[in-house]
């Protein structure tokens, strides 16, 4: 039972690790790494869902009759691109934050501005 569904367990564990890092880490870059792990867990979910037991790669051939589902893989290519764009934007923001504040530690950043 446990090992039959091990792919879901991996997804679940990765997702929680990522989310925990986003919430718990004080360093802005480490938060982003957590966010990336969080997103990747969903990618793995999609990819493992597309696998059909005993199915071959979805390339048409005369000897194969059973194929894996290629659609989730295509979808996740799109999601990966979106993830890269998000990460690039986030890192650009961190660079600007570092320039403006001189630090990327969340705990120090909170003290630099007057409370409003």
């Amino acid at each position: 039972m446990f090992f039959d569904l091990y792919n879901y367990w991996i997804v679940f564990v990765l997702m929680m690790i990522g989310l925990y890092m986003v919430i718990n880490q004080s360093n802005l870059i480490k938060k982003l790494i957590g966010l990336n792990i969080f997103q990747t867990s969903v990618f793995i979910f999609y990819i493992s869902v597309g696998k059909v037991n005993g199915g071959s790669a979805p390339i048409f051939s005369s000897t194969e009759t059973l194929y894996s589902n290629p659609l989730p893989h295509v979808l996740i290519l799109t999601a990966i691109v979106v993830g890269i764009a998000t990460m690039a934007l986030a890192l650009a923001l961190v660079v600007r934050i570092k320039k403006a504040y001189g630090t990327v530690e969340d705990s120090e950043l909170q003290e630099k501005d007057p409370k409003c």
Binding site: L19, V22, L28, K31, L35, F38, Q39, V42, F45, Y46, V49, L71, P72, L75, T78, A79, V82, A85, T86, L89, A90, L93, V94, R96, I97, A100, Y101, L109, D113, C116
Partner: protein, 495 residues
Amino acid sequence: MLDHLPILQVIVPLLAAPACLLLNKPRISWLFACFAAVISLLISAALLNQVQHSGVISYMLGGWEAPWGIEYRIDLLSAYVLLIVSAIGTIVLLAANTGIRNEIDEDKQSLFYVLYLLCMAGLLGIVATGDIFNVFVFLEISSLATYALVAFGRDRRALLTAYQYLIVGTIGATFLLMGIGLLYSLTGTLNMQDIANRLPLVSETSTAYTAFVFMIVGVALKLALFPLHLWLPNTYTYAPSIVTAFLAATATKVAIYLLIRLHFSIFGDDFGGGVIQTVFIALGLLSVFVASTVAIKQPNIKRLFAYSSVAQIGYMIIGIGIGTSLGLQGTLLHLFNHALMKGALFLALAAVVYRIGSTDRACFNGLAKHMPWTMAAVVIAGLSLIGVPLTVGFISKWYLVLASLQSGLWPVALLIVIGSLLAVYYVWTLVESAYFGKADPSLNSASSPPIKEAPLGLLIPLWILVLANVYFGIDTRLPLEASAQAANMLMGAGQ
């Protein structure tokens, strides 16, 4: 040509964005962006007209048949929301040329229009598409553009806010993606219509419940439902004023649309045995009270209205929670009306920022003498926010109260009315200081030039919105008719 309107609605702003980048002169980019926005406004008006007369428009992208290809599906609800988004987007864009002059460096202004159009294209895409994975893609297009727009703010806290918004927004979008994946694994399709048809067979499985929860939480993060609203006040406060006006009037509305679409069209309104309705009503009421109470104490007026936005979102969620056709109509009306009043209020604040450079409460003392037109706009939009008769705000609150009474939820009706009293209080304190407060002498000393009325470039779009607030409060046919039809259609589909 007319057959291709659904895709043109999205493609026009999407392609106009890189064109703006090529033009690379602030003024010309602005004119071009306005041109594109007006075209998309005309398209959405044509779409609404077409849907009202001849029913749902289904457009196959690239000619591929529906479950395999991507379908763009314009029904009454999407046509109605498309019109709101493109209308407000266009009016705010008209004000942008003047509005961002003091807030964004000249060499970055063309980039501002690029991002603005991309954001608008993303929002329109979410509403137009009938494919659930497409929703995710457009959501990210609009969100990424929004994060960059927020980071344009002059205050360095804008950067930090954009970062936090990015983290929260990405978590929300990833939750949505997870939900979409679970739904796909259950039903084997991404077309919303198909999912809705196949889901009843498997709706009792825990996978369906998990998908539902993931998607609702993801969307709730995007629409800033209490207690997931913490990103919103900062974002609205530190973003450039024009961006705030645009976001407040459109982005959260589209998220509400998405919630309605998920809740009524895909899962069906009786999914999960009505638990979610109770949750919506409870969270909606909490939003109204917590956010309104916090708003009263805010020293910064932009932040005050940001909290007020959270409260207004609460009203819309209550309407969804009531779950009758009348309640849904109240939500849809409030969607339209809140876009008008918050658009007007934040544009008025943009005018104040243009002249004074700040929205601290102290700056508003005696401001009505110097900027009578701007402050008059604040008063009218504020009245609309409270829900005074003859303004649009009254109509939607009336429908919400009526809906809750009809469903026998009189405590909810009472609480909606009490919530409006809190709005009276925070709007009044602002009006009081603007009209009867004494200006701080240090702010308006002899050395600095006297404060003048805002330029026409801002005043005209502002007053278009203010007059719309009054006009649609008196002649209510357009929003009433469209929202009633849309609500009936959704309730019909859910049964």
